[in-house]
Structure formats: structure tokens, C-alpha cells
Symmetry: C2
Subunit: 144 residues, 2 copies
DNA sequence: CAAGATATTGACGTTAACGTTAACGTAATA
DNA sequence: TATTACGTTAACGTTAACGTCAATATCTTG
């Protein structure tokens, strides 16, 4: 059906549920679940879901958030935040402060990531040293 | 009891379960759960748990991993990896390849993080522009 | 020595994020 | 036209990561 889409409506970019499932390597069940949780709002062709580019982007964002340990509820909050970014001053200020909190969280995680990465680097180097030292065996200075 | 510890065995660094719970702002239940899952191995004073510095470090590592979306099982795997870093060549090579895979995962997440952070920055700037433009109200170029 | 405070071990409860049938409709295809 | 592929809703099942009692033991402190 992806083929037919290309011929019929290339520019409109409509995706079936399996299109997206294949692209992002998740199950259709997961996608339906994300819709249940309010992350996606596909159109309908009869009972069949038709996902727009916007849905695709949202799915991408959602999966990214998930990889970073955010819950679907948190992701949904973010989406709502962006969507209902009212144009009046108090709303904008509220949005800004929420964004700041979110940024702080993300930067905390970036710190976490950097620490973990440097730990891994350390261990990798240890390994390489041991491998370089003894061709077959080696006794490391096993510290507690 | 923390006070008594300081007097009795300052250098040995022994922590009660509530010491750690308070320090890391988690419940004692969570700590016991981590022990059940093999992340911690406290000594015992009768039936009471006594956590060493090693346990404390592990807890810190575990919580860091959690913030980044790793499951307790994955964290445990990592710990086991580091612990059983056998000194023979095939084991070292296996360890290295696992570390590489892990590094790849972490770097993927760092990429995710950077993308999310730049998205947030973008939105923050949008907000600031709107706030600067209209002191009370403003009509943004609401794009779909 | 009674009352907290702090510890323990069960064991059942809860929530999130889907997995897994089941029962069914529709559409292209051999 | 029967099969195959893809879609639907509904509903129960599962796993992880703890929460939440309950019953009990051990200090220590007024």
C-alpha cells in the first residue's frame, strides 16, 4: 500500500498503521496504544486509521522521549504544552517556566549520560590494556 | 545512628538502609527491592542490613541508569559484566564487545538528548519573542 | 518499663506499557 | 470463490518496579 500511496498522494503523506509500525520497528498494538493515550490523532477512512505527517512526527518524538526514560504521560504533557501554547502573556510565561524545568531535567540526564560514557570508556581501556599485555592470559591488579 | 557511625567507624563507611534512603531520596522499600534484584549485597548485623561504600556506589550507578531509562535487569547485567570481568582472553573480548554495544546505545541516547534540547531551545526562543513583541497580547503566525 | 523509632520478612496491590488472543470486516489475489 | 493480507474493537494477561499493609523484633529514651 505504500506503493499505491506514492502514486496516489505523494505530497499529502498519508500512512497506514503498518507503514509506521515498519518504519519505526514497533507493533501496531503499540501505535494504537499511543493513540489511546492521546499521543496520536489519526484521521479515519471508515474504521481504518490514516496517519498524517504530523502523526508521524509525533510518533518520532514520542519514541525519542521513551528512549530517554519519559513516560507516555510525560510525553503527552509535553505535546499538550506545545499545542496549547496560548498567545496570552500568563500562558506564555507558564509555558516558559515549564520548559525551563524540562530543560533542567534533560541537562541532568545529559550529565548522567556523560558520566556513564566516561565510565565505559575507562573500562574499555582497561580491557584493551589487559588484552595487549598478555596474549593469552593476564593477571590484573584486581582491586576491591 | 549516622552520628554513632561517625564515632565508631568513620573510615569504614557503613550505612543503614535509611541513611541511603535519605541521601538518595528514595524509599527503603525500593532499596530492598534493588537488593532482591541483585543490585546490592549488604552485609548483615543480625537481620539488619549494613551497606558498604561499594553498595552506595552501586546504588548511585543504579539510579543514574534508571534516570536514563535502563531497567533494573539491564543495570544488573552491567554490574555483572564489570564484576565477572574474567582475566582470560575470550572473556575480555566478549566484555569488550558488550561494552561497545552499550556505548552505541548511550551515544544514541545522547543524540536523542541533544535533539530534544535543541527543540526546547527553539520553543523557548519562540516564547521569548512573543513576550517581547506584545506586552499583553500577541498574535503569533500560527502555522499548522 | 512503656512508648516510639527503626528494623525485619512476607504477601498482596497497583500502575504503566504494552502482549496476546478472539471475533470480526474488507480488499486484493491466485 | 477461497485464501491471504491487512484492518478493526474488546478484553483479559503480563512484566517491571515498586507501594502498601501486617505482624514481628530490637533499641533507647523519658
Amino acid at each position: 500500500m505504500g506503493q499505491i500511496n506514492i502514486l496516489q498522494r505523494t505530497m499529502t503523506s498519508v500512512y497506514t498503521i503498518t507503514d509506521l509500525a515498519k518504519e519505526f520497528e514497533i507493533t501496531t498494538r503499540a501505535i494504537r496504544h499511543y493513540e489511546d493515550e492521546g499521543l496520536l490523532n489519526p484521521q479515519r477512512d471508515g474504521s481504518n486509521r490514516l496517519f498524517s505527517n504530523r502523526d508521524r512526527v509525533r510518533l518520532k518524538l514520542a519514541l525519542r522521549g521513551k528512549r530517554l526514560g519519559f513516560s507516555l504521560a510525560e510525553i503527552r504533557e509535553l505535546f499538550d504544552l506545545y499545542d496549547n501554547a496560548g498567545d496570552e502573556r500568563p500562558q506564555l510565561e507558564a509555558l516558559l517556566s515549564k520548559l525551563e524545568r524540562h530543560r533542567a531535567q534533560l541537562e541532568q540526564r545529559r550529565e548522567d549520560l556523560n558520566v556513564m560514557l566516561s565510565e565505559i570508556t575507562f573500562f574499555e581501556n582497561q580491557c584493551r590494556k589487559l588484552l595487549a599485555a598478555g596474549p593469552n592470559k593476564a593477571k590484573p591488579g584486581a582491586s576491591q
